[in-house]
Symmetry: C2
Subunit: 327 residues, 2 copies
């Protein structure tokens, strides 16, 4: 290519990289030649010299789950804006595999890591094995010196319950997933806090913990209506549970939202928007979460590392399953 332009290799390099120590005429000659040959500088050679590859490693544990993808998308998008690329590795929750991937990524000289949790519980820190910056996203690292970017589940629950209270609902129940999930526990905490602030107690006496499924929603709704027939709103731990709850309420001839309002969680479009009726729900803004993690990784790469926990706010999406109490 330099030959085609009739200059030396180093001059061509300068011309292409926009350095100003090159004559305009020469530059255009080089650029033309490059275009004609559709020349692309070899990123490997560049990385070898600069020590930076403009590549980050994305380590996940459960890409199949529906939370990983939006986060991944947000990360990828933010990285692309900075001309960086993603090497994707799914360890499938296997420690051996994870170690192996870390080695692979390091040998490929990635500039940094993003570790994507499969649920939002605490997870062992990997930072000790990794000599480049690491950001944890969705799942929190056990090491408080690491940087974790998380969805604000407590805040999301607050949004949901405050919405119900503001609509005049006073007998609010809560049906959610297994207590072993931090997401479930945090949402209970947020729910309790808001109820207490308004001098209310939870209908049914406490949260009903079960599975994250429609089936559990259908069952739990029957239980809740048996123990607390006067319930006028149900906040559900996710949209599938909410769908099941809606099914049961309909079976029992309760009108939604007139008799009982329902709020879901996750804004899983296929469930929430197509429910009968469409669900008011909490959106985790996961794509934004991923983008935020990527930006914090850039900061670390630029020598401005951070530590601790960043909580990313959720958004309330209002649809037809909630409305003011009818007088």
């Amino acid at each position: 290519m330099a030959k085609l332009a009739g200059v030396s290799i180093s001059t061509a390099s300068k011309a292409l990289n926009g350095r100003d120590e090159v004559a305009p005429a020469t530059r255009t000659r080089v650029l033309n030649a490059a275009a004609r040959l559709s020349f692309r500088p070899n990123a490997l050679a560049r990385g070898l010299i600069s020590g930076r590859t403009r590549t980050i490693g994305l380590l996940t544990d459960e890409l199949g789950g529906r939370f990983s993808i939006p986060v991944l998308l947000g990360v990828e998008n933010a990285l692309a804006n900075e001309q960086m690329s993603v090497l994707l590795c799914d360890a499938r929750g296997d420690a051996i595999r994870r170690r192996h991937y870390i080695g692979t990524l390091l040998s490929r000289q990635v500039d940094g890591f993003i570790v994507l949790g499969d649920d939002n519980d605490l997870r062992p820190s990997l930072t000790g094995e990794i000599p480049v910056p690491v950001v944890y996203v969705y799942g929190e690292s056990e090491d408080p010196d690491d940087l974790s970017v998380l969805a604000d589940d407590e805040g999301g629950a607050r949004l949901a319950v405050e919405h119900l209270v503001s609509l005049g609902r006073r007998r609010i129940g809560h049906i959610t997933g297994p207590q072993t999930y931090r997401a479930a526990r945090d949402r209970v905490t947020g729910t309790r806090a808001v109820l207490a602030e308004h001098g209310l107690t939870m209908a049914g006496g406490g949260p009903l913990h079960g599975q994250w499924t429609q089936r559990w929603g259908r069952h739990a709704a029957r239980v809740l209506l048996a123990t607390a027939p006067e319930v006028d709103a149900i906040f559900c731990g996710n949209d599938q549970i909410a769908t099941g709850v809606a099914d049961t309420l309909t079976d029992l001839r309760k009108r939604i939202p007139d008799d009982v309002a329902i709020v879901g969680y996750d804004n899983w479009e296929e469930f929430a928007a197509d429910c009968r009726p469409p669900l008011t729900t909490v959106d985790l803004d996961l794509e934004d979460l991923g983008a935020a993690a990527a930006r914090l990784l850039f900061d670390a790469l630029d020598g401005r590392p951070a530590a601790g926990v960043v909580r990313h706010p959720c958004r309330l999406v209002v649809r037809e399953s909630t409305a003011p109490v009818t007088p």
Copy 2:
């Protein structure tokens, strides 16, 4: 590292790469030193020499859709088994962005491409812009000289309808998505073929085309039952439609599967397994599809390129929404 082992760099290289022109004692010394320093050969430098990076570019258009992820997972898994890595790029259906990504991936010297379609329609070939092997998966390339690995939608429909016929169902309807989708058309073709082979016609006179949603399923089921009240089975274009159909049948006091059997499509766990009743459905085996594409890419990288269309078989998953006709 070589220093620590007290040998020259090239001797160390030979020892690590298992070449037999090195003394056993030396080798162990080198290996020890490498382990102590947790030495990892620089993949960039290797790639620079060998011309092969053991990296492939995965180009998608709509990672958000639920079909991409299983395929991606299958690809990633198959690649990891061959010690290869994936650079992930989501063009989001934008041609500009796609060109840009192709350039990025080429400059990073990927060994090959996998192009993941966002739906299974024909798509323009990218092979002209790409000087390394390319395999198209899920969506077919317009150029018959390219290699496309696709789900066998016609075959999947055959599985579903043959299952219904074998259960003694004779008045089979079909509710599916927009006719603009090749998936919908192919499944209609398969359905018609099987019905014809058994001397049957489609209940309702023909397929009902609408959206891929529960809402459409609920509506279309009413339409179908109005025009063909004797229908004893409904094959649905996806699991969401099937869920909607099940809802309406239940509303209309039809028993599933006693009065009407239902088959879905996709085996989308959250819908199919948690439906009332759980759905018999067709699984596209997408992870396998991705793995197959990866293996065909390896073949091409090894100098055994292929062309044309590979159709990957589907699997019938039988649950409670189908059963033999009661005498």
